[in-house]
């Protein structure tokens, strides 16, 4: 399910969500519906906070100027509660 769809539906519990990872090296990482294309990018549209994700598990995660983002969409499996996705498996 896409992240914006999950947010719109108020989805919760075990779920697989797809979107773009965007965040700060020193800060939280979010799964976002869109990427606002500043450099580094910012999170756009609906989003959820991502916790429990090992950054080494995301192959296309970029880092520069304090920003952290994925060039491509990722799918994360985890548990969604109150806008926080706790990742339980490596992303695909």
């Amino acid at each position: 399910m896409r992240v914006e769809e999950a947010v719109a539906r108020g989805a919760r519990g075990d779920i697989r969500l797809s979107g773009f990872l965007v965040g700060r090296v020193e800060g939280e990482l979010r799964l976002c519906a869109e990427v606002l294309q500043s450099y580094p990018p910012q999170c756009g549209g609906s989003s959820v906070v991502v916790r429990g994700l090992r950054r080494a598990d995301v192959s296309n995660l970029r880092q520069d100027q304090g920003g952290l983002w994925s060039d491509k969409e990722v799918e994360l499996a985890g548990s969604l509660e109150n806008g926080v996705l706790t990742v339980l498996a490596r992303p695909e």
Partner: protein
């Protein structure tokens, strides 16, 4: 052939959009249409979600930062909504920009529409999805080597210092002597202290060279739809240059155009900006047709990357150039920009005319 062409009008604007059945029954290639429809459907859903964030008039203007040095609003300029800017009139006219140097790629500004086929009741769709790759696939971007050619010299690299001191990059376009069009998220960063501390604006930057110099902007206009509601539908703004640094008079500027749904769909648009994945300060151009249009956004397969936010999507037609959207997002399946709908157009013209 479908007899019902339009689905019920949008709740946002009352305008009609093509019905899914029409897209499927159009005598055009099926491949790609499903994806385009998916983008329209997703775009409309996104748009309505983003719209739900906004209370009141999202286009209501707000300003931030400080004008330094202090300025007085200038006399109203001539509207250039449908014509060329005065700066351009004074500038060398180079027509179609074709860069051709040995061993280097060629950037050719694209004009007009792809061949189209008339659908039922006037609905027109491109015959094919050309260049069906973006950053998701093949990178079609071409470096602009001569950034002093029009209109590339009007396009600016933005070096941004946010309120919290963090550094960012965006793109922009001069739309007047000292008014620079860009995105709301380049002047007002919700997660980094709001209005940015300053923006160093560099027209036509070409790697290290800065052929028109640079100016520091500390004063901005945007709209409540962005600054208060953080809605991507309203992600547009201008940065104002100091009164003694009218860089636009040296570069000229493109006009603005508020085009209809049917004028935008299938239109080939050019985009040029400063992506962060290329050598620092180099400008990159790409063009492709608009594949999906919603009430506030346009979607295309123009290759873009972080740093290109705020870059103009412009139409080159009959020798004239008009900005029709402001690039702001990368997404799936398409990248997108904020449409210059009438309220956007009116705000931009107002802001431009304040600073002559």
């Amino acid at each position: 052939m479908a007899t019902e062409v339009l689905r019920p009008p949008s709740r946002l604007t009352g305008k009609h959009i093509p019905d899914e059945r029409v897209l499927h029954e159009m005598p055009v290639q099926e491949a790609g249409l499903q994806e385009r429809w998916e983008q329209v459907r997703k775009g409309l859903e996104d748009e309505e979600r983003e719209e739900a964030k906004v209370s009141g008039d999202g286009h209501e203007t707000v300003s931030g930062g400080a004008l330094t040095p202090a300025t007085e609003p200038g006399e109203a300029d001539e509207l250039i909504d449908g014509t060329l800017g005065e700066g351009e009139a004074a500038a060398e006219r180079q027509g179609v920009y074709t860069e051709s140097q040995a061993g280097r790629a060629v950037a050719t500004e694209i004009e007009g529409y792809l061949p189209t086929r008339q659908g039922p009741q006037g609905f027109v769709a491109p015959l094919e999805m050309d260049h069906a790759e973006i950053v998701h696939g093949t990178d079609d971007r071409v470096r602009v080597w001569n950034t002093t050619a029009f209109p590339f010299r009007t396009i600016c690299k933005l070096e941004i210092t946010a309120a919290d001191g963090s550094q960012w990059g965006c793109s922009g376009a001069l739309i007047g002597p000292r008014t620079v069009l860009t995105n709301g998220h380049c002047v007002y960063m919700h997660d980094h202290g709001g209005w940015v501390r300053q923006i160093r604006v560099i027209p036509g930057k070409n790697g290290s060279p800065e052929p028109y110099g640079a100016a520091i902007s500390t004063f901005y206009h945007s709209v409540k739809g962005w600054t208060e509601s953080e809605s991507s539908n309203y992600d547009y703004a201008v940065a104002v240059l100091p009164a003694n640094q009218k860089l636009g008079n040296a570069t000229g500027w493109m006009g603005l155009a508020n085009l209809s749904y049917f004028s935008l769909l299938g239109l080939n648009v050019n985009n040029s900006g400063y992506p962060g994945d290329k050598p620092y300060g180099t400008q990159w151009w790409n063009a492709n047709n608009i594949l999906a249009v919603t009430d506030r956004r346009v979607y295309y397969r123009i290759d873009t990357y972080g740093g290109q936010s705020g870059s103009p999507d412009w139409r080159f037609k009959d020798g004239q150039r008009h900005i029709v959207a402001v690039h702001n997002t990368g997404g799936s399946p398409f990248n997108g920009g904020v449409r210059i709908v009438r309220p956007v157009f009116d705000n931009l013209v107002t802001w431009k005319n304040l600073y002559t």
